[in-house]
């Protein structure tokens, strides 16, 4: 791809026709935004998946409706690596504007498939070139000019299927699934695949080493994107009120949730057991979430960085007035508008402390689509248990790309609706004080509007209040509430998802990471072992506030690298605020923040440099 690193690609050496590289390479499809390549790329990805080969797909797209360059990379990895590879070996150059750049970015010995008129061979003698007359083939296939650009993409699927030896029967099944119930569309599309396949078979002699061979590594697995998984988690948590404002890259989360709500949550009489509201802005979206949470509903919103900034004031109200709500933040590249279609882990600090005053938030950090589902679900239990807004921090890479996963497990616990007093409880108790810590866990009992008891009501306010929710400006009363909130946050350490010691041996060196950095870091650990003979320990952080295991992990190592995708070492900074002073000095950072998902090679190189290897 155009943004790849040419020098590194060449490190892999020139093409040798004797070499056979099986199930371990990346395909880069360069197209134009809005040209409808998604279906073709999805069929390609699922065909490789259907061959039993671990696969991942990434859409690198512009912030534009149509016309700008876009790249889709598909990585096949027999070892199960799903992170972005820094360069792709196989190029499908469908965009004349970037074709030259794209072929120049190929590693030596790579593969280029392109419209024959582009004559890309002139740029690279060390690449296997397969020129295809896409326009001619498509015109013959499809008399309707309108459909041609879509069908054109299916032709490259056929060409690749032949060249890489992907089973045409598997491709056929994937096309069928893609265009379920639409026989005509299937015929047209699969016809295009066959045409590409036939053209390649008749005209090309294989001159590259890349092959897809059947494996059995994907049986029983699913493919899903993180946004769909988060939305699904929310639905299986019984969400009832959804308020949102469109923003890339979080919109598809709401769309996924809404589809499922319409599917599963409409009564036989046609009444909805949910409400989804497209709000006028993110201020209103979070306001609705807190209003609904206050009135007892499981409520959520989904947004990205700019929306998070707008939600700041309300987030503080939610914290201080102790109102549950779930906020999904699918992070994109900031600051400001930044690069809306690129990924980053750079909202961590602003989310953890979102709002003015002494405010702290519970933040869940999913590192896979499975965790998107699980945390998307658990966030509601935590929000109602802790009576506070809970943030689920995903990112564009996780949210908008397809990932392989084991099927999600149905939640095994009943919903935890937290501490709510009913009218019967009040009859027994006589009265209650909303913010009084009766149980010693720093969480008070609340009532819901409509509770039929003369003593049920209380006054919710963001202004200074005492245990009984009364207005106060008394120093001791104000401070008592703030101290209890602090204790509540401390207690949350034990309630949030614990970190995972991915690798915990006897190394003096530890790595800490969260979210999507995990994919590249796992691969990097193998590279470090293979290339430098070093074993390094690794713990993945899954939530803030930090569990004690994270403190223990830092204490047990001499040096700890915090690997993250932002410029300012936000996770390391957050850890520094939390760790004892003598531990803070152990922290170092490996940072990646150019908008592309971090890749293993980048981490490995940075680690080797910092360690002097």
């Amino acid at each position: 791809m155009a943004t790849g690193n040419l020098a590194l690609g060449q490190e892999q050496g020139a093409l040798s026709t004797n070499r056979r590289i099986t199930n371990d390479f990346s395909i880069n499809v360069a197209t134009v935004n809005g040209s409808g390549s998604q279906s073709a790329n999805s069929v390609l990805l699922k065909s490789i998946f259907g061959m039993g080969v671990p696969v991942s797909g990434k859409n690198l797209f512009p912030s534009n409706i149509a016309g700008l360059p876009t790249w889709y990379t598909i990585r096949a990895s027999k070892d199960g690596y799903v992170a972005r590879k820094r360069d792709s070996e196989v190029l499908v150059a469908m965009n004349p504007e970037t074709a030259r750049e794209d072929i120049l970015a190929l590693p030596a010995g790579g593969v280029a498939i392109y419209e024959e008129g582009l004559n890309l061979k002139q740029y690279r003698g060390d690449v296997a070139c397969y020129p295809v007359p896409f326009d001619k083939l498509t015109a013959a296939l499809c008399p309707e000019a309108k459909l041609r650009k879509l069908v054109r993409n299916m032709v490259y699927v056929g060409v690749l299927a032949y060249l890489l030896r992907i089973d045409l029967g598997v491709v056929e099944k994937c096309v069928q699934k893609q265009f379920a119930r639409k026989q005509k569309v299937f015929d047209l599309n699969f016809g295009a695949v066959e045409t590409g396949y036939e053209y390649a078979r008749t005209n090309f002699t294989k001159q590259d080493p890349y092959f897809i061979e059947a494996m059995n590594q994907t049986a029983g697995k699913i493919i899903i994107d993180g946004n769909a998984a988060c939305g699904m988690g929310a639905v299986f948590a019984g969400v009832t009120v959804v308020a949102w404002y469109p923003i890339t890259p979080s919109t598809s989360l709401i769309e996924a949730a809404t589809d499922l709500l319409k599917k599963f949550r409409v009564t036989p009489e046609g009444k909805a057991t949910f409400a989804v509201v497209q709000a006028e802005d993110e201020l209103a979206a979070i306001g609705m979430v807190l209003g609904a949470g206050w009135a007892g509903a499981r409520s959520m919103t989904s947004t990205s960085g700019p929306g998070i900034s707008l939600m700041a004031e309300f987030a503080g109200l939610g914290y201080y007035a102790e109102i549950p709500g779930v906020i999904f933040d699918v992070q994109r590249t900031g600051p400001a508008t930044g690069m809306p279609t690129r990924t980053q882990q750079s909202d961590l600090l602003s989310v953890a402390f979102l709002s003015h005053g002494d405010t702290r938030h519970v933040v869940l950090l999913p590192g896979s689509v499975t965790e998107c589902f699980e945390f998307g679900h658990d966030a509601f239990d935590l929000a109602e248990r802790l009576q506070t807004p809970v943030f689920v921090l995903s990112d564009l890479d996780l949210g908008m790309n397809n990932w392989m996963s084991d099927p999600f497990k149905y939640p095994d616990k009943p919903l935890d609706r937290g501490k709510v007093l009913t009218a019967e409880d009040l009859n027994r108790l006589g009265s209650f004080a909303r913010y009084h810590d009766v149980d010693g866990d720093a969480i008070g009992w609340r009532t819901l509007p409509g509770t039929n008891h003369p003593k049920a009501a209380y006054f919710t306010r963001g202004s200074g209040h005492n245990d009984a929710a009364g207005y106060t400006e008394k120093p001791d009363e104000y401070q008592a509430v703030m101290e209890r909130l602090s204790r509540k946050f401390e207690n949350a350490r034990k309630l949030v998802p614990a970190p995972i010691a991915v690798k915990d041996g006897s190394s003096k060196i530890g790595l800490l990471a969260f979210g999507t950095t995990d994919f590249a870091l796992r691969e990097s650990l193998d590279q470090i072992k293979k290339e430098y003979g070093k074993d390094v320990d690794y713990m993945r952080i899954r939530a803030y506030p930090f569990a004690h295991e994270i403190h223990d992990f830092v204490a047990a190592h001499e040096r700890v690298y915090v690997v993250e995708q932002n410029r300012d070492a936000q996770m390391a900074s957050l850890l520094k605020l939390d760790l004892p002073a003598d531990q803070v000095v152990k922290l170092r950072s490996i940072l990646h923040y150019n908008g592309l998902p971090v890749d293993a090679r980048t981490i490995t190189e940075e680690f080797a440099t910092k360690e002097g290897l």
Partner: protein
């Protein structure tokens, strides 16, 4: 609570008025807002609304503090500046069986809250939205708000040169279904309007001119008691007969515009301006604009539509509160997840 007299007067659900009272007001003595709180208490009492069925919602400002001074048995949420509409929307989505009463101010609505205000009106959310309108920011000591009239003078001598926002005209144009203006000093009109508001299903937007005795009640102010007493121009006289009242009133049908409310109550608007039709949207807006040109403070019910579906109707949600639906309804069964997983393989 004060000790009840031996046989206190009770309303039709058996509650004495004391059960509708709130905490002691911390607003200035003579503040129009206190009078509005009193009228809210009277209206809720007379209408026999169960206090536990009411959510008192507010933003920030003097007005927004006032829910603490009425109906202590009702649930209250004093939220953030200008954002009460969204909080109320969320609360009503969670529990659409509640009566929502929002109290805002002219700053809270017409400046910082304008974005949420217009969208609230547009949605016709079933709630009562009261603007306690004094044209001035009180808690920050007397700056003009966006409802201050051109030429109106601050105590410091500063003259307002920007045109006022007419929240009633806006609300009508945007889709609110019960829009009126009153004056905190007009007990009779305000009480009748509030009672009708309680009977209405849809967004009720009432702009109540409520003089600020500390910062905007002087000579040169157009939101002072004196100015209102001199310039209040009722467009109609409001008569309200609740569904549970068994009263026959004689009137000349040519002079009265009669509206049957959602709950079976009757709203009778005696025409004071010739042939004013409160169901004619365009005419209502034009009348308000003309009055503004003439420096008249028109009061009364300007617009009413009892037929338009509310936001809750449009969402077609179940009649019971979403908030307390059991897990068996809200969490899809295991088979649902299994089928989703199969489709993703």
């Amino acid at each position: 609570m004060a000790t009840a007299t031996p046989n206190p007067k009770v309303n039709h659900i058996g509650l004495p008025i004391v059960e509708y009272r709130g905490g002691k007001s911390t607003l200035c003595a003579g503040c129009g807002h206190n009078a509005i709180s009193e009228r809210i208490i009277d209206a809720m009492f007379e209408m026999g609304v169960e206090p536990e069925r009411v959510m008192k919602m507010s933003g920030i400002g003097c007005s927004s503090k006032s829910p603490a001074y009425f109906m202590s048995r009702s649930f209250a949420f004093n939220s953030v500046h200008g954002r009460m509409p969204s909080v109320t929307t969320g609360a009503l989505l969670a529990n659409s069986t509640m009566t929502a009463l929002g109290v805002s101010g002219d700053g809270d609505t017409a400046s910082i809250g304008m974005g949420q205000f217009v969208h609230l009106m547009r949605r016709n959310l079933p709630m009562i939205y009261i603007i306690e309108d004094n044209g001035v920011y009180g808690l920050t000591k007397g700056q003009f708000s966006a409802t201050a009239d051109i030429g109106s003078k601050l105590k410091t001598g500063v003259i307002n040169e920007l045109p006022p926002i007419d929240t009633c005209a806006m609300a009508i144009q945007l889709g609110a279904t019960f829009v009126g203006r009153s004056f905190s000093g007009d007990k009779k009109q305000l009480l009748a309007m509030l009672k009708a508001a309680i009977a209405h299903k849809g967004t009720v937007m009432i702009d109540v001119i409520s003089p600020c005795v500390t910062f905007n009640d002087h000579e040169g102010s157009t939101k002072s008691y004196k100015f209102l007493q001199e310039n209040d121009e009722p467009i109609n006289e409001i008569g309200f007969v609740a569904s549970f009242d068994d009263i026959e009133v004689d009137y000349d049908s040519g002079e009265v515009y009669e509206v049957e409310m959602h709950d079976g109550s009757n709203l009778r608007l005696r025409k004071l301006h010739e042939e004013y039709d409160p169901t004619d949207k365009a005419n209502a807006v034009r009348t308000l604009m003309e009055a503004q040109e003439k420096d008249e403070v028109l009061t009364g019910v300007f617009y009413i539509d009892t037929q338009k579906p509310t936001f809750i109707d449009q969402l077609s949600v179940v009649d019971v509160p979403l908030a307390t639906l059991p897990e068996s309804v809200t969490r899809p069964p295991k088979a649902a997840l299994d089928s989703l997983m199969t489709n993703l393989q």
